[in-house]
C-alpha cells in the first residue's frame, strides 16, 4: 500500500486532482464511450482577431473536444512554413497576449465544455510576466498550456508550473521520437492532464505520420503513465486520423492541415463555417 501511494505521489496524479478538471472529464467521458478526442489547432489572430475567434467557435460546435490556440511567434522553432506564415501575418496585424486572452474568454463563454489549451513559445510568456500570464489565462477560462521550448532544464519551467498550478492550469509535456526511456520516465512524472506525443522527427506540417512508429511511441509512453496521450504531427487527412486512432492513444491532433485549409480559403465569406465542415470530416472518422 505504501508503495502504491508513493508511486501515486511520484506521478503527481494523487495531489493534482484539481488540475484542469475539464480536460479530465473530457477524457473520462470519451473513455466510457470508447471514443478518442479530436484536438484542433488554430493560430490566434489569423487571418484576423475576429475571424480567428469565429473559427474557434465553429470548431467547438463541430465536435472538437480540445482546441489548441496558438500564440504566434515569428521564429517558431518547431513549426513548418504553414504555421510560421500564419504566425507572422498575425503578428503583423498586432496580435498580443491580451488579445489572445480575449479570444479565449469569448470562446469559453461560447462553450463551457471545450478544453482550451494555449500553445506557443516561452518568450511571449516571459516578456508578459509569468504570474500575470497565469492569472489572465485562468480568468479567460484556459485549461492548459503547451510551451514548446520549455524543457525541465530551464529555470522558467518550474516557475511556470508553479504559477499555473496555483490557478489550476496544467502544463502539458511533449514526448518525441528522440526521447529515450529515461527522459520519458522523468517527463511523465511531471506531466499533467495529458501527454502530447510528437509523432515524427521534424517540424509541423511537413512530413506525413508513419502510423506504426507513432503507435509504438504511444506504447512506450504508456509504460510510464496512466495519463491520456494525444498523438500529433503529420496527420494530414481523416484517414491518417482514423489509423492513428486505432492505436492506444486517447486523442488525435490536427494542426497544420487546419491552418493550411484556412490559408487556402482565406477569401471565402463563410470561412469559419467552411473550416467547421472540414474539421467535421475528422470528427466523423473518430466516432
Amino acid at each position: 500500500m505504501a508503495e502504491v501511494i508513493r508511486t501515486l505521489i511520484l506521478r503527481r496524479e494523487f495531489w493534482e486532482i484539481n488540475l484542469s478538471d475539464r480536460i479530465k472529464k473530457i477524457f473520462k467521458n470519451l473513455k466510457e464511450k470508447n471514443n478518442k478526442a479530436l484536438i484542433s489547432f488554430s493560430v490566434a489572430g489569423f487571418p484576423d482577431d475576429q475571424t480567428s475567434l469565429e473559427i474557434c467557435k465553429v470548431l467547438s460546435d463541430s465536435g472538437v473536444h480540445i482546441h489548441e490556440l496558438n500564440m504566434p511567434h515569428a521564429e517558431a522553432q518547431a513549426d513548418g512554413p504553414i504555421i510560421q506564415l500564419a504566425n507572422i501575418k498575425s503578428i503583423k496585424k498586432g496580435i498580443n497576449l491580451d488579445k489572445i486572452f480575449m479570444i479565449a474568454e469569448k470562446l469559453r463563454l461560447h462553450n463551457p465544455n471545450l478544453g482550451i489549451c494555449l500553445m506557443g513559445y516561452l518568450n511571449n510568456i516571459f516578456i508578459y510576466g509569468i504570474e500575470k500570464f497565469a492569472e489572465k489565462a485562468n480568468k479567460a477560462g484556459v485549461d492548459a498550456l503547451i510551451c514548446v521550448d520549455l524543457p525541465a532544464d530551464v529555470k522558467e519551467e518550474k516557475q511556470i508550473r508553479d504559477a499555473l498550478k496555483k490557478v489550476g492550469i496544467s502544463l502539458i509535456k511533449l514526448i518525441t521520437p528522440t526521447t529515450n526511456e529515461n527522459r520519458i520516465k522523468e517527463i511523465t512524472m511531471d506531466a499533467e492532464s495529458f501527454i502530447y506525443s510528437v509523432n515524427l522527427k521534424g517540424i509541423t506540417g511537413v512530413k506525413t505520420v508513419q502510423v506504426n512508429e507513432a503507435n509504438q511511441q504511444i506504447d512506450r509512453i504508456k509504460k510510464y503513465t496512466n495519463l491520456p496521450i494525444v498523438s500529433g504531427f503529420g496527420i494530414k487527412n481523416p484517414q491518417d486520423a482514423k489509423e492513428i486512432a486505432k492505436s492506444n492513444c486517447d486523442g488525435v491532433v490536427v494542426g497544420s492541415q487546419i491552418v493550411k485549409y484556412i490559408q487556402e480559403n482565406i477569401d471565402d465569406k463563410n470561412l469559419p463555417q467552411k473550416v467547421g465542415s472540414y474539421v467535421k470530416t475528422f470528427v466523423e472518422v473518430l466516432k
Binding site: 511567434h73 516578456i127 521550448d149 532544464d153 528522440t178 510528437v198
Partner: protein
C-alpha cells in the same frame, strides 16, 4: 578549475548567470545532451586534443602573427596598436578554429552528416572545408540576402562540396543570419542524427561553451605573443561582435586579468548588447533586439553580414551584466572608413566585420595614450567584401 574564475564556463544547466541554458524543443534535447557529453569526453582525451592542435598548426596555419600595426599607430597617434591576425588563417577568418574543432568532434562521435548556418559565409566555408578533408557531407543554411552579398563564399563552399540552402523569414521577404539560424535548427529537428556545427557562441547549451573553447586559442596566442614582445599584458583588447565567437575567443584567456580592459563592438543598427532587452529565442537567453511582446526580432542592418544579428551569445550577456566587458557600437560609415584606412596604412584588406573593431579601436587608441597597448582582433580578411566595397565607392576607386 579555480574558484570564482570567470573562465569556468556555464553551470550544469548551461547558465552564465541568468543567461544561456537550452530553451530547446524536446526533439533536440537528447541531441544536446549527447553533444555535451561527447564534448566533455573529447576535451579530456589527449589524443583528440593533439589532433586538434596538429590541424590548427598544419591546416589552419596557427599561430598567426600578433602584428605591430606601426603605420596605423602613427596615423592615429595614441596607444600602440597590435593586430591579432586571424585574417591570415587558411580560409581567411577565425571561423576555421571552431569548424575544425567541431568537425573533429563530429567524426569522433561517428556522425555521418553535418549541418551549419552562416552569416557572411565564413563559417560555411570553414565547415565545408573541414568536412571535405574529414569526408563528411555538409549542408549549409544561408540567408538569401547574404547569398547575394557574399557570393564568393558561396562559390568556395560549393567547391568544397557543400550544399547551400537559401533561407528566408516566414514571409519570404528577407533572409539574413537569424533566418539561417532558425532554418538550421528546424533542419536539425527533422534530421536529429546529423551533427549541427554551430558557427558562433550562440544557440542552446552546449554550443556557446564549445565555440568558446575552440576559439580560445586566439587569446592564448595573444597572451603568449604580447608577453614575448612587450613583456606585459595589453591594456585593452577590442573585437567586433555578432554572435560573439571571435570576441570570446580573443578575451576568454584574459577574463581574470582585471587590468586588461575588454571591448566588444557591434554595428549601430544591430547593437543587441546596448539596445536590446532580455529575451529567449533560438534556444538561448540573452539580450535581444525584439518586439515589445517578445514574439519576433526587430529588423537589423549592418555593412557586415557576419555581425548583423539581433542578439549576442549568452556569455556576453553575462559579461555585460557584471560589467567585465564594455559593449559598444559604431556606424557603418565609421567601419567602412576604418576598412579603407587599414588598406591604405597597412596594406591589409580586412573584412567588414573586424572593421567595426578597428573603427572603435581608433577612437580608443586616441584616448589611451602612447605608452598603452591595444590589441585589435582582425578576425577575417576582406576578399569576400570587395564587390560591396566597389559598389559603395563606385567612381571614387579610379
Amino acid at each position: 578549475m579555480t574558484k570564482n574564475s570567470l573562465k569556468n564556463g556555464p553551470d550544469e544547466f548551461g547558465y552564465y548567470g541568468e543567461f544561456g541554458s537550452r530553451y530547446a524543443p524536446e526533439i533536440l534535447m537528447p541531441n544536446l545532451i549527447e553533444l555535451e557529453e561527447a564534448f566533455n569526453d573529447a576535451i579530456n582525451d589527449k589524443k583528440f586534443l593533439d589532433e586538434f592542435n596538429y590541424y590548427l598548426k598544419e591546416w589552419i596555419g596557427r599561430p598567426n602573427p600578433l602584428y605591430y600595426a606601426e603605420q596605423l599607430t602613427k596615423k592615429v597617434g595614441g596607444a600602440k596598436i597590435y593586430f591579432k591576425s586571424d585574417h591570415l588563417n587558411h580560409l581567411g577568418a577565425h571561423k576555421g578554429n571552431n569548424a575544425l574543432f567541431q568537425i573533429l568532434l563530429a567524426k569522433r562521435m561517428g556522425k555521418k552528416k553535418v549541418l551549419c548556418e552562416t552569416g557572411a559565409g565564413a563559417h560555411l566555408i570553414a565547415t565545408a572545408a573541414a568536412c571535405a578533408f574529414k569526408d563528411l557531407p555538409c549542408i549549409g543554411y544561408m540567408g538569401r540576402d547574404d547569398i547575394f552579398l557574399q557570393s564568393t563564399n558561396v562559390l568556395k563552399a560549393k567547391l568544397f562540396g557543400a550544399k547551400v540552402i537559401e533561407c528566408v523569414d516566414g514571409t519570404g521577404e528577407k533572409g539574413v543570419l537569424k533566418d539561417a539560424c532558425t532554418s538550421v535548427l528546424k533542419a536539425w529537428s527533422s534530421d536529429p542524427d546529423a551533427f549541427y556545427c554551430c558557427g558562433s557562441a550562440i544557440g542552446p547549451h552546449p554550443f556557446p561553451r564549445i565555440v568558446q573553447y575552440a576559439q580560445s586559442v586566439i587569446g592564448k596566442e595573444i597572451k603568449e605573443q604580447i608577453l614575448e614582445k612587450e613583456g606585459r599584458l595589453p591594456d585593452a583588447i577590442c573585437a567586433c561582435i555578432g554572435g560573439g565567437s571571435n570576441l570570446i575567443g580573443a578575451i576568454h584567456e584574459f577574463l581574470d586579468d582585471k587590468e586588461v580592459k575588454l571591448y566588444g563592438v557591434e554595428p549601430e543598427h544591430s547593437a543587441a548588447l546596448t539596445n536590446g532587452t532580455v529575451g529567449i529565442m533560438q534556444g538561448f537567453k540573452s539580450f535581444m533586439l525584439q518586439s515589445e511582446t517578445g514574439d519576433s526580432t526587430l529588423a537589423t542592418q549592418s555593412l557586415a553580414s557576419g555581425i548583423n544579428f539581433y542578439s549576442a551569445g549568452p556569455e556576453h550577456a553575462y559579461l555585460k551584466k557584471i560589467k567585465r566587458v564594455n559593449y559598444t557600437h559604431v556606424s557603418d560609415k565609421e567601419a567602412f572608413d576604418a576598412f579603407q584606412l587599414v588598406c591604405k596604412t597597412e596594406g591589409i584588406l580586412i573584412a567588414f566585420e573586424p572593421a567595426f573593431a578597428v573603427g572603435y579601436g581608433i577612437k580608443l587608441a586616441k584616448e589611451m595614450g602612447k605608452d598603452k597597448l591595444l590589441v585589435l582582433n582582425i578576425c577575417g580578411r576582406g576578399d569576400k567584401d570587395i564587390d560591396t566595397a566597389e559598389r559603395i565607392l563606385g567612381d571614387k576607386l579610379e
